[in-house]
Symmetry: C2
Subunit: 276 residues, 2 copies
Amino acid sequence: MVVIIDNASFDKRPIGVFDSGLGGLTALRQIYKALPCEQVVYFGDTGRVPYGTRSDETVIKYVNQDIRFISSFDIKLLLLACNTATSIALDRLKDSFGFPVIGVVENASTAAVNATKTGSVLVLGTSATIRSKSYIKRLNALNPAIEIYEQACPLLVPLVENGRYKVDDEIVRLILKEYLDPFKGKDIDTVILGCTHYPLLSEAVQRTVGDCVTLIDSGKEAVSSIHGMITPNEYADRRDDRFYVSDSVHNFEALAETLLGETIYGSVEKVDIDLY
Amino acid sequence: MVVIIDNASFDKRPIGVFDSGLGGLTALRQIYKALPCEQVVYFGDTGRVPYGTRSDETVIKYVNQDIRFISSFDIKLLLLACNTATSIALDRLKDSFGFPVIGVVENASTAAVNATKTGSVLVLGTSATIRSKSYIKRLNALNPAIEIYEQACPLLVPLVENGRYKVDDEIVRLILKEYLDPFKGKDIDTVILGCTHYPLLSEAVQRTVGDCVTLIDSGKEAVSSIHGMITPNEYADRRDDRFYVSDSVHNFEALAETLLGETIYGSVEKVDIDLY
């Protein structure tokens, strides 16, 4: 039997991935697992992270610049791997480009509704994500009977960005206890990790809430939806992935490999984002 | 006796005060106390705070933009009320303008050398300040016999910016214990609070290190040196002070009055800092 491969049926264009900083690398890790043939252009706005404590107007301004930059590449899809950017800016943006733009709130909400048996769901996120009510709107639209609890966790991103997320870290344990203890006795069986930094804290969160609670990884859920939205690539050479950051390359590389869980093979370059 | 006041002998131009965010307000509080007749133009780069975890190249770029903005006012002196900006950028900047630019490292170092009896001094600062060795250089220049210890405290600025600095806050207590415990038994009697956010933590730091240790407030020391460097103003109406921020005015006002310790009387406006 002769197999004829039609090269024209592949789409070699990369997937764009954006985050305010390093958190989106947890979503990139999911792309490497679920879509190993796809090439990636990643932009992390490390010179202006964090977004989650800033105002809506500033987040919108920054995300507009970020997308102007990343859309200068010929990408086939853009993943906004940042819950703050998704919550504040996605609705204003998603129909403005010649490629699909997907966020991380919608699929995480669907996964939570599917996972909960008690009907009580807790959303953890940055101050901006919680203020936006993006998860409440989406969860209510999917199932108005869901009991939704929310907690803004402004100290978690600085912890993770400083490499503090291990399960045996006493500061991490106490901060999580402070954020999570108010929800004891609420019959919550599903927790949405509504920030792409938080999957690094999965083990510590799980220990705090107990093993019977399902944790939803917003980046992982978004990536699982990409499969049906794109024409796949034939093969990706990871060395051709391109990483861009707005602070120094050196600072990025140090923590990025920890968050990504493997070596960065592609190029890493600095970009002057306020020119966009 | 007739007293003749010569108006021409006053200098009504304001003092410029810059910080990466809100920390500089602790220095402004000292200006209100020590120089009540001076008017102030304050710029806080709240859209890009924190500086202390970013690279030198990014801090220098940001500080250049910040000073281009604040020097668009007719100021008589600029106080860089930010240890990170002072440590990374002051030497490159101080002779570039038609007004004196003073930082917060020099006077804090002098105060520490004058205060210590044991000759052992601990410097607390952001990662960028500690990496720069600015305090080591200055303290050594003043007295090479001083034993200098340093500790980078990257979690303190996020704590303060989130309103977490009270002495009875368990998270604050534990994080300070982690940063300060390694220096027990080193005969340290003087601690430099080498970040203008840290005076908010004075009470908590004092409880951790004990009452016999002298805490040096870098903003306060810098302000005490301004007196001899300027021609004073006749009288300042606080309602004519001008505050500028790079994120939303609303977010600034909420925390600023706490840090300043009094009502903000002047105008607060947003500025698009990446145009500078």
